[in-house]
């Protein structure tokens, strides 16, 4: 019996110590799967930690969910890509100190032989219209993410209601997984270029449409308003925001390349 107690105490102490983590010098950033899956954070955050001593933990979800996490006060800052939604949330008072950080663009990817012939389209809306007309399968993120928001915007511009058609499928998954599903189903999908470049080696797909200004993808960063959530670590979040828009931070983003040497994001803080 005594041995049992000893063992139990030892186990408990062990677990207590290993589960303890230094809460003080960490901040939590809610961000998007596109930023995480591209590998940007793995490259960026160690640099920031070296400079500031602050560790940034990242919860990667869709843009919509990240904004929601921030609104609830469960993160200290968010880095997302849906400028309209961001500005609206700032206006509502949930966030402060919003800054543009970087951009890349969205591209439409699909089976290389391009059954809907969207390669010949002039604009993204035209490409979408062709897909709808041909009723070729299209995988939507369906998760209120930045890419989803952009995709819905394009459908709206094209004057098409895709929901409810059986060629239009909502995955409800992150960017990389959505690409994977599109790959399996030989379908089209809209993706950010960063995730595409990071994952494309494992896919039998290619970019079929790109370059329309409507596909511009702006990433922004903002801190949770400490007046709404007094637990939010605003000061440290601000240190990160200031770092990422600083020359050093922007240079680091500019020097981030995927394993094939592609530049994934272009810094554009002003």
């Amino acid at each position: 019996m005594q041995k049992l107690y000893l063992l139990l105490t030892a186990l408990l102490t062990l677990l207590m110590t290993v589960c303890a983590y230094a809460e003080e010098n960490r901040i939590l950033c809610a961000s998007t799967t596109s930023a995480q899956n591209s590998g940007l954070f793995d490259y960026l955050l160690p640099e920031f930690e070296k400079d500031s001593g602050i560790k940034v933990d990242v919860v990667a979800v869709g843009t919509g969910a990240a904004i929601e996490i921030g609104k609830r006060g469960d993160a200290d800052l968010i880095l997302v890509h849906a400028k309209e939604l961001e500005l609206k949330a700032v206006e509502e008072g949930y966030f402060v100190d919003r800054r543009d950080v970087m951009y890349n663009d969205f591209v439409i990817i699909g089976e290389p032989n391009d059954p809907a012939e969207i390669k010949e389209a002039k604009t993204a809306t035209e490409a979408f219209a062709k897909i709808a007309k041909k009723q070729t399968p299209f995988i939507s993120r369906g998760d209120k993410s930045g890419a989803h928001t952009k995709e819905l915007f394009i459908w709206k511009e094209a004057g098409i209601t895709p929901a409810g058609n059986n060629w239009y499928m909502e995955a409800g998954q992150g960017m990389a997984k959505t690409q994977r599903i599109a790959n399996e189903k030989q379908a089209y999908t809209l993706t950010d270029r960063g995730t595409w470049l990071a994952v494309k080696d494992n896919l039998n797909m290619s970019i079929l449409f790109e370059g329309d200004p409507i596909l511009f993808n702006q990433y922004g960063i903002m801190a949770v308003n400490p007046k709404k959530h007094k637990n939010a670590k605003y000061d440290k979040a601000l240190v990160f925001i200031n770092w990422i828009i600083s020359e050093k931070g922007q240079k680091t983003i500019a020097s981030f390349k995927d394993k094939n040497g592609n530049l994934l994001f272009t810094p554009n803080s002003k």
Binding site: L12, V18, C19, Y21, E23, D42, D57, R72, R180, N202
Partner: protein, 231 residues
Amino acid sequence: MSNPFLKAVELIFSFDKQLFDIIFLSVKVSGFALIIASVFGIPIAVFTAFKKFPLKSLFINIMNTFMGAPPVAVGLIFYLLLSRSGMLGFLGILYTPYAMILAQTFLAFPIIASLCHSAIVGVDPLLKQASITLGASPFTTAATIINEARYGIMSALIAASGRLFAEVGAILIVGGNIAGLTRVMTTAIALETDKGDFELAVALGIILILISFTINFSLNIIQKKGKKELI
């Protein structure tokens, strides 16, 4: 594309730090949850087995029902509770290992309480009689019965740990799958598969399968040992 399986084996045998950090975190989170759930679950099982109290059968029914609680739903409930805007938001433990331990404890508790209760109640009543006729006090008699239920109790713990290690829904929601902080085997596999980086995913998959096989193998052995009673 090189063979992810070979690379995974290479990762395992080179004791890759990232890989083993994830494995250890899994063991810590699920292990701790198991210990807490046992510390509460076993005494409650003992209590319900030996004492009469109002609404006892209702309590047992609830425990049995919660045994099959969907982890995702449990995760959601704890997410809403632990969120800064939730009832337990003041704890500030959402997206930390503590939240994961809490959610997993909640998943393991009914399994342990319910299965241990069945194990104790299932002990041959002759043994209670034997214990009394041999001069044992009520306390010793209870201890003897619990001891006789030991294989059933162990089975309960193993069954619970099997569920915890394989579980992804609850820990993903309350843990957030943060690299180096709350990323455990199951959530890491999901993420790495998304990214198409199969090496780490396969390596973790191998370990996870090994763990789950070991768990089920020992469960089998223990259940056989306990069955000797019926021979």
